[in-house]
């Protein structure tokens, strides 16, 4: 049984039909990437999983249990954490407070402390800035914070919405390295990206979404060589 099994979901914003029957699966331990151009419905897919935007039809099974019936905070408790689009850090709170909020659902103080050290181990720059107000961090540091904050929830499934957005190439490399490290330590990842090349080079499998529908799915390696993907998303003739 796949860890996450999304079957034919239809999600609306009012009467805007944003997802028109999206189906995808994520196996335990995988990195799966969802690529597509602006407005294709990538963020909407992640919001549907989190419960922030409920699909009107279809099912989202996590370990066989349908998430559609649950509220966002209950879904977090089931081990799904998100790095939101545009980072979504709490700008007026400090770095430490942001991380603390990531662990909001947990009550095991010792475990939280350990994970905090773990996050600081991955992102030493955050450790130097624990008391700095998050809004004054650089864009790259904010992305690190958003990622670290999501890790603080000890997720089994991590949803990441365009973690490379607005970062310098060097930092993009660093963030993707971290994503791989996190994955090797046992966290399953669903990665939404516009930077398709980078995403496909670290992912196991990938899906291509276009105006609310999945148009392609394959292993990452195959997608990278796929003619349409190369033209439309990799910018390679």
């Amino acid at each position: 049984m796949p860890m996450l099994d999304i079957h034919d979901i239809h999600t609306y914003y009012g009467n805007i039909h944003a997802l028109k029957g999206v189906s995808l699966t994520v196996e335990e331990g995988e990195i799966v990437t969802l690529i597509g151009s602006n407005g294709a419905g990538k963020t909407t897919t992640l919001r549907s999983i989190c419960g922030l935007q409920k699909p009107r039809r279809g099912s989202i099974l996590l370990h066989g249990e349908d998430l559609v019936a649950y509220k966002p905070h209950q879904i977090v408790e089931k081990g799904v954490a998100m790095v939101p689009e545009g980072r979504g850090i709490f700008a007026r709170l400090t770095v430490a407070e942001n991380l603390d909020l990531g662990a909001y659902i947990r009550r095991d103080r010792r475990g939280i402390q350990e994970d905090l050290e773990h996050v600081y181990g991955i992102f030493p720059r955050l450790k130097e800035r624990t008391r700095q107000v998050a809004g004054t961090l650089s864009g790259g540091e904010q992305q690190m914070l958003a990622t670290g904050r999501a890790l603080m929830a000890q997720p089994r499934l991590l949803l990441m919405d365009e973690p490379s957005m607005g970062l310098a190439p060097l930092l993009v490399d660093a963030i993707f390295d971290v994503i791989q490290t996190i994955n090797r330590k046992g966290t399953t990842i669903l990665l939404v990206e516009q930077n398709a090349l980078m995403a496909l080079s670290i992912a196991h499998r990938g899906y291509v979404i276009q105006t609310g529908e999945i148009v392609l799915k394959d292993t990452a390696a195959n997608l990278k060589n796929n003619e349409t993907v190369r033209k439309a998303y990799l910018g390679i003739e």
Binding site: L52, P72, V76, E77, F90, L101
Partner: protein, 525 residues
């Protein structure tokens, strides 16, 4: 140079219009009375032939003149050569223009008055006696000339004073701050005092002791005022949780205050129900009822955001008041005439003066509420509220059940108001619909904003300023709303984050101010 003169002229015109306006609405006379109270010089011997009322008018106008001069002079950043001359010139020009406007109006009004025109028909404040006082014993043209000369001199002096305080013609506030930073704060003993925590605690201790002893000496009238301020502190702290911490704009906060008050009144008073329950029993009931109402109202309403929430709560506040006023319900609520003979607390057989004891009871409640607020602020719940105020969607994605958290904030805020209301009704030994009009909600919002959102000391300061100060300046009665508005405007300019802002808000506003300043400098170049 040309720039400086233009600035001074403009300042002079603005201050001139303000002075004339204050005179026409009779505020100069009121201010003179306030000064008489403050200086306590009502029966002082005349100075320069002016008896105290006129003398105080002169002082007041002089103060405005100094201010005009200070603003008129402090614009120009850098006048080469003779900075004092430039400052005096700038201030003097501002004062001259202000004096010209004021003097002309005075001369005109004075002349009309002498001809027997009843100006109070058009402007109620321009009674013959009031105009006479403004003439300072001169014939009208003489009074005009006097104001012109006097304000010019005051302006020049104001300009000189600012320049003397701060080099380089900075604004007065900045100049004083720089002066404090460079001259006072570097003194070794100031530094060591600053660093020592003992001093901090000693200051707090003395302050607290002073407050605690105050009711013993304050007398009945002032104890009443202190009690009112205390109740507004309770309300402010409650609304502070709702607005300041959880970020929910509740404009009908008075409803919970009313519920606490009516719980106390209906359960303890002989009419209309004759239940005559004990005060101490009803206090928790009032708190609980308010909290439950908060949840019942909140559950459907808190799904709305921002403006809608404000409007719905505003309506709720009015509904409660109108219900309490309804004739049809008067068998149950006491109707428009309210509920008399609300019980006071019995102090367990102790024989104490109940007026003073009640003030201490309010103090105790305030301390309790401060304690609870403080604990909440630093808890998981407080953290969740902060996250929610920052970004509701993201905080949901962090696993925060935002609806529960909002309800909790609403209920706790309501509980504080319920306590305040119960105390209020008992202290007044009466409650009625008119105690709970919209102004109460607005006042409490103002207490929170003026004091500093999210800050406990801020709320206390806000309640003192908005509820205590008007009592100290009883003379202001007629102008309360005007002064209140002016105060808010001044506040916005002077302390945009509130009197005692929370560190977080201060940070945020300072950051914005920093940006604004850079932009201004950029433009000046």
């Amino acid at each position: 140079m040309k720039n400086m003169i233009r600035n001074s002229l403009r300042t002079g015109i603005v201050f001139g219009i303000i002075t004339v306006f204050l005179f026409l609405v009779g505020f100069t006379g009121t201010a003179a009375n306030i000064l008489a109270d403050l200086l306590n010089n009502e029966s002082a011997p005349p100075l320069f032939g002016w008896a105290p009322p006129m003398l105080n008018t002169v002082i007041f106008v002089g103060l405005i003149g100094l201010w005009a001069g200070a603003s008129g002079a402090s614009r120009e950043k850098d006048v080469a050569g003779d900075p004092y001359g430039a400052a005096v010139l700038g201030g003097g020009i501002a004062g001259f223009v202000q004096g010209l406007l004021t003097g002309l109006v005075m001369a005109l009004v004075g002349t009309l008055n002498e001809r027997g025109v009843m100006m109070s028909k058009y402007l109620a404040e321009l009674l013959p006696a009031a105009v006479k006082q403004a003439m300072l014993g001169f014939p009208p043209p003489g009074a005009g000339a006097f104001y012109l000369l006097f304000l010019t001199a005051a302006g020049a002096l104001g300009g000189l004073a600012t320049r003397g305080l701060g080099r380089g013609g900075r604004r007065p506030r900045e100049a004083i701050r720089t002066w404090a930073r460079e001259k006072v704060e570097v003194l070794p003993w100031v530094q060591s005092l600053r660093r020592s925590p003992a001093v901090k605690y000693a200051v707090y201790g003395i302050l607290l002791l002073g407050i605690l002893l105050l009711p013993l000496f304050a007398g009945q009238y002032w104890n009443y005022t202190i009690g009112t301020v205390g109740i507004y502190v309770l309300l402010g702290l409650g609304l502070n949780i709702v607005v300041g911490l959880a970020g929910l704009l509740d404009l009908g906060y008075v409803a919970f205050f009313a519920i606490g008050a009516y719980a106390m009144a209906l359960l303890t008073a002989p009419t209309p129900h004759n239940l005559m329950w004990n005060f101490w029993l009803v206090i928790p009931i009032g708190i609980l009822l308010a909290a439950v109402t908060g949840i019942l109202l909140g559950a459907p309403v808190l799904r709305m955001r921002g403006d809608y929430l404000a409007i719905v709560t505003l309506g709720f506040g009015e509904i409660i008041r109108i219900l309490s006023k309804s004739d049809d319900l008067s068998d149950f609520t006491g109707g428009p005439r309210g509920v008399p003979a609300v019980a006071g607390p019995d102090f367990f057989g102790l024989n104490v003066n109940s007026g003073i004891a009640f003030v201490y009871l309010i103090f105790l409640s305030v301390l309790l509420v401060i304690f609870v607020t403080n604990r909440l602020q630093n808890s998981r719940v407080g953290r969740a509220w902060e996250a929610m105020r920052e970004d509701e969607t993201v905080s949901r994605a962090m696993g925060i059940n935002t609806l529960t958290q909002k309800l909790l904030a609403f209920a706790i805020g309501a509980a504080f108001a319920g306590l305040g209301g119960a105390l209020f009704a008992s202290r007044n030994q009466f409650t009625g619909p008119e105690d709970f009009n919209l102004m109460v909600s607005i006042n409490v919002v103002a207490v929170v904003i003026v004091g500093g959102m999210g800050s406990i000391p801020g709320v206390i300061a806000g309640a003192l300023v908005l509820k205590g100060l008007p009592e100290m300046l009883r003379q202001l009665e007629d102008y309360r709303v005007m002064v209140f508005g002016a105060l808010l405007v001044v506040m916005m300019l002077w302390r945009p984050a509130g009197l005692i802002p929370s560190s977080r808000r201060k940070m945020e506003i300072d950051k914005d101010a920093g940006l604004a300043e850079t932009a201004e400098e950029g433009r000046g170049k």
